[in-house]
Subunit: 336 residues, 2 copies
């Protein structure tokens, strides 16, 4: 590939490269007519500024890195769309990396993004065994960071989270209202604040209604995890009356196994999912699920990052807690 450079234009027009540069970033003094002359010639020659050279000298990139654990569920893609919308408006490009639920890959991704001089990072942690020491380093070096959804504890950065406590509480209460007592709690990885908050919501709903809590199982966020757990439950013959699942994928995996084994949903086992995928309204039975405002999460994260980018130096970490909704459907309602 042969690129047209600023030098080519300068030579063609018998001006200095600095003049050409000024024509493009007109914050510096340049006579309007020479600027127009340069711009015209540049367009003619098909010149496009080289962002790599610019990054090198400016030590910034106008790039934002986004790291997500997976994109098989539509949750993260939607968050990205939300973030992109905001960031594009402010002339930032978005680099997306995917860590495949692996902490090591996640850190590697973060490092390559930093090496590539992103101006900031939007991150959702990979499930298990998270390691935030690198992120602590980054905050010390003043790299703007925003976590969302799966956020770490004990680190002073901005965060965008869902009100997991409240909605785990409501979802649990919903199941209790339906008359179910033995409610299994499928939790995400223990390290995630998200899991702890849901646990508290689950516990408090039981406390409020003076019911003993059911069992808890820790699990990942994929359909496979749901399948595995359901199979285990069946072989152990330890079938709960109702389930609060880690997310929709997990719930759907479980439903399939249960249905294949002859259980009726919700008559034998009621189930509630989390984070409302598009599938929820279409599977059979339709799945009751806690809906999260995915686009809003992305937008909020982008905005928080932009704030840090603008008033660099002084940065007060904020946590934005977003609200949701419980979409009640067939999987959790028994007509009596």
């Amino acid at each position: 590939m042969k690129y047209v450079t600023i030098k080519d234009i300068a030579k063609e027009l018998n001006v200095a490269v600095s003049t050409v540069s000024r024509a493009f970033n007109d914050k510096y003094d340049i006579k309007p007519e020479t600027r127009d002359r340069i711009l015209k010639k540049a367009a003619e020659m098909g010149y496009r500024p080289n962002p790599i050279a610019r990054k090198l000298v400016q030590q910034r990139s106008f790039n934002i890195g986004i790291i997500i654990p997976e994109f098989e569920n539509s949750f993260f893609p939607q968050v990205i769309m939300g973030a992109q919308e905001i960031l594009y408006q402010h002339n930032y490009q978005v680099l997306i990396m995917q860590s495949n639920e692996s902490v090591d890959l996640e850190i590697m991704n973060a490092k390559t993004l930093v090496d590539n001089m992103v101006d900031g990072l939007i991150i959702s942690l990979s499930g298990v065994g998270n390691n935030i020491s690198y992120y602590k380093e980054l905050t010390e070096k003043k790299m703007p960071l925003v976590f969302f959804n799966r956020v770490p504890e004990n680190i002073e950065t901005s965060k965008v989270v869902f009100d997991d406590y409240k909605w785990a509480f409501f979802a649990t209460e919903h199941l209790i209202h339906q008359g179910f007592k033995d409610i299994l709690f499928i939790s995400g990885a223990d390290e995630l604040i998200l899991s702890k908050n849901r646990q508290r919501g689950y516990d408090d709903a039981h406390k409020k209604h003076r019911i003993q809590t059911g069992k808890k199982i820790t699990c990942g966020f994929s359909m496979k995890d749901g399948v595995q757990i359901a199979k285990n439950l069946i072989t152990k013959n330890s079938i709960p009356r109702a389930i609060l699942a880690a997310n929709d994928a997990c719930a759907i995996g479980m439903i399939r196994v249960f249905k294949d084994s002859g259980f009726k949903i919700p008559e034998d086992i009621a189930i509630v999912g989390f984070s409302e995928t598009k599938m929820a309204a279409h599977i059979s039975p339709t799945l009751t699920s806690v809906e999260q405002p995915t686009y809003e999460i992305g937008k909020a994260a982008a905005q928080l990052l932009l704030e840090q980018l603008q008033n660099k130096g002084i940065h007060i970490p904020q946590t934005i807690v977003l609200n949701g909704r419980l979409n009640v459907r067939e999987s959790s309602v028994v007509l009596s």
Copy 2:
């Protein structure tokens, strides 16, 4: 952010920067012990090579750009995973951009990736009104390009496609075998070869069985498009007996509308989807769908690109045609 550079190491060790550079890319002559000394010091100081500086001087990036039209359906994410697997093995980083089904954004994405000196591009076109003149420029400038799934005509590049003709034929024949005559064909954008091939498959299946073809409607690939078309059909009271949909999302959108309006699937309307999303097996009724080998598509595209990268200069455009499978489920089978 303060970065440790090669100069810092050179100063610390009283050697030239060129020596330090040699220590990292040991294709040049360097005494093993000084190399070890440098590597040790570098690790100590937390040095990481700056890929931006390297790109600038080497005029290459070890980055591959992937451009996809959307990532709400799991189809494209899965393709990306496949491509990443291969590219990572060859030490390429992957930059993902998403063009939101907009041709303009797609071209912009391509340009920014080129500006960022990607070594090659893997592209799936955005639906309507595609504009390949820029891609032609790129091929003339020897930029390695591979298209997949939604590929353009009249351009000499490597491509990875699905055997749309064959599977549209089989899917149509399957519906005919079920006894359906009035089969509506929901096509993707007309510009796409994919659409034309499916059309041919659809037509030929009718010819083979001496049945007159049904109507054809052109449509996008999202659930919204399916919803819109189904609504139109209902208001026009032009309900077909069976439908071959553009993809699963579209099919699912239609199913919902039909079900809401009191139609029974498949008793009143049978339907077949395309490209097998995870949803297909879980919605109600379960959806008959043509399954595409998503990971394989990604892998094949990556491999084709790597070939071009390796023997640069001479490049024989190849087209890989991948095979699929028809998963027959409830939505298209009437027990009689």
